[in-house]
């Protein structure tokens, strides 16, 4: 460690990833909120890298390739040779096996819910992991979202669950050099396996709360941030768009959830009418401040997801049509068209969106009462199905399938009163479920795309939930020190500093700015 800041010529990069008043000294990549950002990706790497912005694009990382066997219940990875832990020990198949075994032994750490049965090093560069069930669809979780930890150090820990890994040793491009409650610093790992990289010698992570980061952005303290900025032009860009850049690619879709256990909302024509009445453009402009885009009717982020969308709908777009909506509602007793729209009040943009939706629906004779509730309350109510309408984001995955599954899979639709973990509107449709099962049962990418196209069709035609806009991934970066950031033209990784391991991928792409 030490302060290598001054000795190198290239300047440090100041990063704000997640809001924090202070940091805890926790570098266990399996911890959730307490862990300091950068631990996975920059220190602990994964076997493969999945670019969510280009579904299907997979980059070998610690593993060079993978091979399924046993009907998708086993996967064998061939590992990269010559990789070293930052303490000089070689990285081997034992480390990978140890990592998966640890997840099996400590379900508390198994946040991906991998059904690991066994993990075995077959050779120094080969490891096989066995699962209880067919796991094709989980490749992202297995290879792309499981940071590998060094066996020789971690096996000494009695309880990996509470282990805070204060002196992290990883294979990644950076190592921890300094820690205080307000700031920690990473320095370049000199023996990183990608020669010559990274070119950014020092990363500084100061602690900023959601508020403080705004001031920091305004005063130019940050080189890279992932913050919601209420007025990005005024606060951040400040008239220098060529230097103070931002890029908010979609990361999942925000939908208007109709609770399908409500008999009125269960009627397709009602949902259709609602969808026709809502002016998504205005929502994006006013509530979302133009930071994102109106969702594609399938909910799939476009154009990245083209291949996963049924060809007939690739060019589709939402249009407002009040007259048609009114027409659709003709047969329904206006007295029944009264709903409450539940939103988590800390999400101010959604609160505003709800307000706009209310105004729009009023035009077609639907009375909506917006109710802002505490985040916790909202989670519980929506989870248990105690609502009429709500707004919720569905996370994206490495392919649109993950999003579809989470939105539509009948197996997730718990009875009202029981907390669901997806499909909150409680969509139940045999065809949907069949398609979802079919995806999970195959390794073949073309087949998977076809299945997802089928799901996209259902989204458009049956409106199980109403996509509004994409949830943006926040990224502000300045090009005065370093260039090579992801952009709309070159979306090689999620640009936000809080996404891992993408952030590490971004750092490996950066080059000092030309003077």
């Amino acid at each position: 460690g030490g302060t290598a800041t001054q000795s190198t010529s290239a300047p440090p990069l100041v990063i704000h990833a997640v809001d924090a008043g202070t940091f805890q000294e926790d570098f266990n990549p399996y911890h959730l909120e307490g862990v300091n950002f950068g631990t996975s990706g920059m220190i602990h790497e994964t076997l493969m890298y999945f670019n969510k912005l280009k579904p299907g694009e997979i980059t070998p990382w610690l593993a060079l390739k993978h091979e399924w066997s046993n009907n998708g219940k086993s996967v064998t990875f061939t590992l990269r040779q010559g990789v070293k832990w930052s303490d000089g020990q070689p990285f081997t198949a034992d480390d990978v096996a140890f990592t998966f075994q640890m997840l099996k032994d400590n379900p508390q750490l198994n946040r991906n819910a991998l059904e690991v049965e066994a993990a075995k090093a077959l050779a120094p560069d080969q490891v096989r992991v066995d699962f209880k069930n067919t796991s094709y669809a989980k490749l992202f979780n297995i290879a792309g979202n499981t940071p590998i930890v060094p066996k020789h150090l971690w096996e000494k820990q009695k309880d990996p669950v509470t282990f805070t890994n204060p002196k992290p040793v990883g294979t990644g491009p950076y190592t921890l050099s300094k820690f205080s409650a307000q700031l920690y610093e990473f320095v370049k790992n000199p023996s990183y396996w990608q020669p010559g990289k990274p070119e950014v010698p020092v990363l500084r992570f100061p602690a900023y709360t959601a508020n403080a980061v705004q001031t920091a952005l305004q005063q130019g303290e940050l080189d890279w941030a992932g913050a919601f900025v209420p007025d990005i032009q005024k606060i951040y860009v400040q008239g220098k768009p060529e230097q103070n850049k931002f890029y908010f690619p979609p990361e999942g879709v925000v939908t208007l959830l109709p609770n399908l256990t409500n008999p009125v909302l269960a009627k397709p024509e009602v949902r259709q009418a609602i969808s026709l009445a809502v002016d998504r453009d205005k929502i994006v402009r006013v509530a979302e401040r133009g930071y994102t885009k109106v969702a594609h009717p399938t909910g799939v982020p476009m154009p990245g997801g083209d291949a996963y969308v049924s060809p007939e709908y690739r060019g589709a777009a939402f249009k407002v049509n009040v007259e048609q909506a009114k027409e659709l509602l003709k047969g329904i007793d206006p007295g029944q068209l009264k709903f409450t729209l539940l939103v988590p009040s800390p999400f101010t943009d959604w609160v505003n969106a709800a307000q706009l939706i209310r105004e729009d629906l009023a035009k077609v004779g639907i009375t909506v009462e917006t109710r802002g509730v505490a985040f916790a309350d909202w989670v519980s109510k929506v989870g248990k199905g105690n609502y009429d309408l709500s707004i919720r984001a569905t996370p994206s995955g490495p392919t649109p399938y993950f999003q579809m599954r989470s939105m539509l899979f009948g197996g997730l639709a718990t009875p009202v009163g029981e907390a669901a973990t997806g499909n909150y509107q409680r969509w139940k449709d045999a065809e949907t479920d069949r398609l979802i099962d079919a995806y999970a049962a195959t390794e073949d990418e073309a087949e998977q795309q076809k299945v997802t196209q089928g799901l996209s069709k259902i989204m458009v035609e049956k409106l199980p939930t109403l996509p509004l806009f994409y949830s943006p991934s926040w990224a502000q970066y300045r090009t005065d020190k370093y260039v090579g950031w992801p952009s709309e033209q070159d979306p090689y990784a999620m640009p936000s500093p809080y996404t891992s391991p993408d952030a590490a991928v971004v750092l490996l792409h950066l080059k000092p700015a030309p003077k």
Partner: protein, 326 residues
């Protein structure tokens, strides 16, 4: 000592009530921190992992009574459990990291506000009918202003517009914590605005309270007598009038500490100050039971201790209670 023993008994009872309330509230209210966490992690966690995590956070299914006993037992050992937000950090660590900041800022600010407010109150009562009466409307106004609004205004004027003071965190990024002048200076510089906020917002109450009691005291015969004795005004004002007027104010001051602490919670949030208030909000937002409980407990106990100290001060300052105490 009888009086103090009685008060101590009362505080113990209150502490027990706080502890029990603290135990009961989260258990009587709905909510599941793990679900929340999952919802917040937006896809970084598979919902199927919820159960395992619940176990990791020590959320238990034991009977309420058993939980209560465990809770008391843990408390007795000083264990407040692990925070969910900062898992696996112990709540006690979170608190011990953040408490000094709060105590520093709130403590010093309260002290200043008490001293200045009390003196101003004394002076205003003494100099009634002079220009000092002009402070009264201002104090009345400040008495009703929300702490956080004062904070916002100060941030706007001195932080954003004039840029005289930093508006967030407890010390500069470029200094490392340690016993250095640089660090101390940075801490003081960063604490300035939050402290001013608390002083401004809480001083009005002290001024008004002290003035009222003081005015009443000034009408007492012993003050007239002191004046008649030909003592200097200063001596009459401080040794006779203020000395007596402070007595009823001690208790109200101690009781108002709860408000000051509450107000400082909001202040910390505006200034992103890494104190206990910010942590409390974080705990509440995340339904982090152990953290909320721990912090609420610490705040309550701190206020209790402050109240007890006020009682002690009272006994020292008022010979009448001293006799009773024998």
């Amino acid at each position: 000592m009888r009086f103090l023993a009685r008060r101590l008994g009362f505080y113990l009872l209150t502490a027990w009530a706080a502890v029990t309330l603290n135990f009961l509230i989260p258990r009587l209210m709905p909510g599941d921190p793990v679900e929340l966490l999952v919802a917040r992690m937006k896809g970084n966690v598979e919902p199927a992992a919820i159960d395992a995590m619940r176990r990791a956070f020590g959320i238990s299914d034991a009977s309420l009574w058993q939980q209560y006993l465990d809770y008391l037992g843990n408390l007795a050992r000083g264990e407040l459990g692990r925070s969910i937000t900062f898992f696996p950090t112990e709540v006690s660590t979170v608190i011990s990291d953040s408490l000094p900041w709060t105590i520093g800022v709130v403590g010093i600010a309260t002290l200043i506000s008490y001293l200045v407010g009390t003196s101003l109150g004394v002076l205003m009562a003494w100099k009634r009918g002079t220009w000092l009466d002009g402070v009264l409307p201002a104090a009345t106004f400040m008495h009703a202003v929300p702490y956080f609004w004062v904070a916002l205004a100060l941030v706007f004027v001195f932080g954003v517009t004039l840029q005289w003071f930093p508006v967030s965190r407890a010390y500069g990024l470029d200094v490392m914590p340690g016993f250095t002048g640089e660090f101390a200076g940075s801490v003081a510089y960063h604490a300035a605005l939050p402290a001013i906020t608390i002083v401004l917002a809480s001083m009005a109450d002290r001024i008004l309270g002290m003035r009222n009691v003081m005015v009443t005291t000034l009408g007492e015969d012993y003050v007239v007598m002191a004046e008649a004795k030909g003592l200097t005004s200063r001596r009459v004002m401080w040794a006779y009038a203020a000395r007596n007027a402070i007595l009823p104010n001690i208790t109200s001051f101690a009781l108002s500490l709860g408000f000051v602490v509450g107000g400082s919670v909001l202040t910390e949030i505006v200034f992103s100050y890494p104190g206990i208030g910010s942590m409390l909000l974080k705990g509440v937002e995340n339904e982090d039971f152990p953290l909320m409980q721990g912090i609420f407990l610490v705040i309550s106990l701190a206020v209790l201790v402050a109240n007890f100290l006020a009682d002690l001060a009272y006994v020292v300052l008022d010979p009448r209670t001293r006799q009773e105490a024998e």
